[in-house]
């Protein structure tokens, strides 16, 4: 396989290209068009794995492995973490808010793609040297020889960049507490002063039948009270409205109770 990838393309590779290429494109499209960020992330991960395979096929063994281990394994997981941390809101609506943005974007994308392809088509890229010679001492060794000689400066600078980025991320996400934490008493006093909800928030759930946290409690007139549900669920729209059901239940209950009482009444008579 090493030799094949090094200098020529085989039918196998062509088959692999067409199958996996399709997968990659579909994955990319899904990344763009999936409503939920989690799904997008998963699709992207898939595309990246496909790309890792292509790297391997092109003789970039080291990169292929790094792509899988670092990119798909670490970076995409970072994405997923952040999605969990942040993306609590409902799935994005794909509805466009800026007038003409979508059409312009599609137009530009289409034009740009066509132009790029035209550019590639124009270029005379029929020469194909293969990597046999470059990889002769092993791909990793070859890369290492270049990195620590020709690209050593770039390498050092990238290292510095990584450190800076790490520190930067910490600075950005870290919040220094600049003042004393307020005591419970102070918080209570503030609530009184601001005239906000004084007592604890009402609990969710309707009778004993629906006491899950995603079911809002009912007000006396039978309407659900959003206050009773956690804010995260509210924002995600994951509230189960059972008011109609509950009212039905109540009616049934009354009826049954009536029947029983009536019967008992009748007996009393």
């Amino acid at each position: 396989m090493t030799d094949v990838a090094a200098y020529a393309t085989s039918t196998g590779e062509a088959f692999q290209f067409w199958v996996l290429g399709t997968v990659a494109v579909v994955g990319a499209l899904c990344t763009v068009f999936m409503k939920k960020a989690v799904h997008s992330a998963l699709c992207l991960a898939g595309t990246m794995i496909v790309l890792a395979v292509f790297y391997l096929a092109n003789g970039a063994y080291f990169l292929g492995i790094v792509q899988i281990v670092v990119y798909t394994g670490a970076i995409m997981m970072l994405f997923l973490f952040v999605v969990m941390l942040v993306g609590v809101t409902a799935a994005d609506s794909l509805k466009e808010t800026i007038k003409g943005q979508r059409w312009l974007a599609l137009l530009c994308g289409l034009g740009f793609g066509i132009l790029l392809c035209a550019g590639i088509g124009n270029a005379s890229l029929q020469e194909f040297n293969g990597l046999a010679q470059a990889n002769s001492g092993g791909n990793v060794e070859g890369l290492a020889a270049l990195i620590f000689t020709k690209y050593v400066f770039a390498f050092e600078i990238t290292g510095a960049l990584l450190i800076t980025a790490a520190i930067g991320a910490m600075v950005l996400t870290h919040r220094e507490r600049t003042e004393r934490a307020r005591t419970q008493r102070e918080l209570a006093e503030q609530r009184v002063r601001e005239g906000k909800q004084l007592p604890p928030l009402p609990a969710p759930g309707v009778y004993a039948r629906h006491n899950a946290v995603d079911v809002p409690g009912l007000l006396p007139d039978g309407t659900p009270s959003e206050l009773t549900v956690s804010r995260t669920l509210r924002e995600r729209g994951q509230i189960r409205d059972v008011s109609d059901e509950a009212i039905q239940d109540l009616k049934a209950l009354e009826q049954r109770a009536g029947e029983r009482l009536g019967r008992e009444e009748g007996v009393a008579k």
Binding site: I98, Q101, A105, C108, F112, L115, G119, N122
Partner: protein, 646 residues
Amino acid sequence: MSNAENLIALLVAAPLLGAAVLLCGGRRLDAVGHVIGTALSTLSFVIGVVLFADMLGRGADDRAMSQHLFSWIPVEGFQADVAFQLDQLSMTFVLLISGVGSLIHLYSIGYMEHDERRRRFFGYLNLFLAAMLLLVLADNYLLLYVGWEGVGLASYLLIGFWQHKPSAATAAKKAFLVNRVGDIGLSIAIMLMFTTFGTFAFGPVLGAADEAGEGRLTAIGLMLLLAACGKSAQVPLQSWLGDAMEGPTPVSALIHAATMVTAGVYLIVRSGEIFNGAPDAQLVVTVVGAVTLLFGAIVGCAKDDIKKALAGSTMSQIGYMILAAGLGPIGYAFAIMHLVTHGFFKAGLFLGAGSVMHGMNDEVDMRKYGGLRKYMPITFVTFGLGYLAIIGFPGLSGFFSKDKIIEAAFAKGGTEGWILGGVALLGAGITAYYMTRVMIMTFFGEERWRKSAAPAEPGVAPASGEHDEPHPHESPRSMTIPMIVLAFGSVFAGGYFSIGERFVHWLEPVTGYDHGHPPVSALTVTLATMVMLVVGVGIAYVQYGRGPVPVLAPRGSLLTRAARRDLYQDDFNHVVLVRGGEHLTRSLVYVDHTLVDGVVNGTAASMGGLSGRLRKLQNGYARSYAVSMFGGAAILVAATLLMRAV
């Protein structure tokens, strides 16, 4: 002998110093202001007499003196000097101006006694004297122009002396503006001289006049005439003189009768060589003179305001002078002679009128005078002598000078001669008429100023000041002495000048002299003048002397009404120039604001609109900006490909 020249500058400097001291001195000088003013003006007169004596001591052709003070505007090719020239013509004017001026200074001490701004008044009078002397002494046209405008300024200040009266302020402004129109003529004339002769000093210009083309000379002449018209209140620029009577009466006597208004005549006579070379210009001059002569006389007939009647008369008399000046060498000397005699009698008449007003609570309406001869005898006698002089009563000044002009007009020859002579003759008759009218209405007849005498006309509110009946009285001595002196001049000057054509010979070296070819004998002309005189006086007597004069002016004939309104000339000015000008400026203000400014503002507004539209692209959405970046990248790729393809 040579030292005398150095005195010339003093003639101007003395009153100029007076003006500076009086105007900058402040209230400290209030008590002595009039003394300083009069003293300096008299000093100027004395210097004039000294110079005159010096001049008489020399031969006729050696009398011109000059004094070069300093180089005024030295610019490559354009050399203007402050230099004076005193010849016989200037000398005549110097004596007239400083003499009459000093008398009027004296008169003003009494006349302005109760005015709190008397110091200032004398300051202005001195300023006027300085400017007027500068005008007649200048040895080039540009310096003359300085004096020319200087007298205009003094006249402006003095007409508007009682500035709190809007009418006075308006009259002053009008006088200055109309004069400015004339000044255009003078400046263009000077420019023409500069381009024609390369200089504008009297000597070189007049000396080289015959070398220039007739067209040029005619143009210069007409422009000089325009200037003269403005300053001397000749048609069509005469309208300011009547209004100028708003000024204090001594001012009217000095500036608007004796001296300043005659500057136009001086200008034309001084520029004689130019006019001699431009017969067309001369003809226009005589026509202007003749028209004004009649115009002023007719206006004078209709005015009830004693000063305005005299103003009309002044206009008319200057018409005579201009007419004479337009006749060329035949008339120059007589123009100046009439100018001098007119200076005497007209100043006397004005001072008399001032004296009458002084005694009549500043009333100017002759219809409210009458029978004053008993109350102010000196005024009556001096005014009467002036009257006889102006109508040309045989033996008095006016007789000699006016008669000569009429003769000269006939002597021009041809049809023009007959027409001009006829007009001058007719003017003499009208002069007799209106002056008799003034005389009768003021000094004879009923005492209409008495309240009881005023017929009670229903519906006519009595004018203010009519409540207290005036108490006519003779004026103080400081006022009567000048009147007496001027009366002497009015009586004897003409005769003295005419003995052996003395005046003509005195001026001949400067102006030249030519007898012309009178088609009729001098005697005939004199007789005709006498006839006109008698007719004029007679008609006036029949109209005003025999019956009572109504206190309120009757409606009068069409001509009378027109004459009262200055023959509608003012109305014409008002409608065409004032109204038209107002509309023009107003529409221009509008144009400036909407059109000129509008174009610029419109450009700015459209740019603003464009940028307002463009800023909508800047909507703050990073994605929008990204689209444009992406689009830009696409275009770059396209451009690269295209370049390769090409």
